[in-house]
Symmetry: C2
Subunit: 128 residues, 2 copies
DNA sequence: GTCGTAATTGAAACTAGTTTTCAACTACGT
DNA sequence: ACGTAGTTGAAAACTAGTTTCAATTACGAC
């Protein structure tokens, strides 16, 4: 555990929304000025393997990352402010039985990404 | 609707698994020899907007595409042979209520990608 | 505290993937 | 057959991500 890695972790932990590698680099440099972009990539790779970070899949590319709690969970991202939260994913597991029956596949894994409007944007913005 | 586009569509329609842009280019060239890679990119973009093609999101990058039927559905990909199928996604919509209560977000969209073992691989391979 | 080793770092070079540019070409309605 | 708007492919430009390598750093053994 080195200073550069701590800087990346800290920037990720503080973020309220998924960050691209570039953004993360910018922010983490506040903690550790001579941090290299390469180290951000490498640190993310390690953290992803450890399950501490999740990649956020979006429409086109999938280049953003967010901190993730251990255990089975999914992310929901606000379409207005990009803020990202997690929720427990056990409900989804209940669906696998139905899906196995429908498709004939044996389901071994899944992931789900949700988009919505977060509570504070619901208050401030016009309700649809 | 031009010959190059037809070639791309045809290669996609025939594929039993998601294809990368390169693979698609290779296969579509069988129909239209001097097809440019750029055209494949452009055609995919158009088809994606029309909802005829879906991007398959995988562990690391998300670079494969598969034909998709219109309407709300999700993809499931076989982890052994990569074959990809679709299924109706109405079940998942039932979850949004529970998720809205849990997170406070208003859910406006989602997508789900599943991984599993397809029927024919289940037969041939050793059952776990 | 000092030493040694193995892992980590950052810069630069490199590769892969994707987009833009632009002149030539093609589909399609007139 | 003609005109026009949209499409095409090659090359160049660009972006994201990876590899290489010498210098640096963490950390356990002494």
């Amino acid at each position: 555990m080195t200073a550069p890695r701590r800087a990346v972790l800290r920037a990720l932990a503080r973020a309220q929304r998924p960050l691209s590698v570039e953004e993360l680099h910018e922010r983490a440099k506040a903690q550790h000025a001579r941090l290299g972009l390469v180290t951000v990539y490498r640190t993310l790779q390690v953290l992803e393997e450890l399950g501490l970070v999740r990649r956020i899949h979006e429409q086109g590319a999938c280049r953003s990352f967010a901190a993730s709690s251990p255990g089975h969970s999914h992310a929901i991202t606000c379409e207005r402010c990009d803020k990202s939260s997690e929720f427990n994913g056990d409900d989804v597991c209940l669906l696998t039985g139905a899906i196995e029956r429908k498709t004939g596949y044996r389901v071994s894994g899944h992931w789900l990404q949700l988009v919505g409007v977060c509570p504070s944007c619901r208050k401030s913005g016009a309700e649809r």
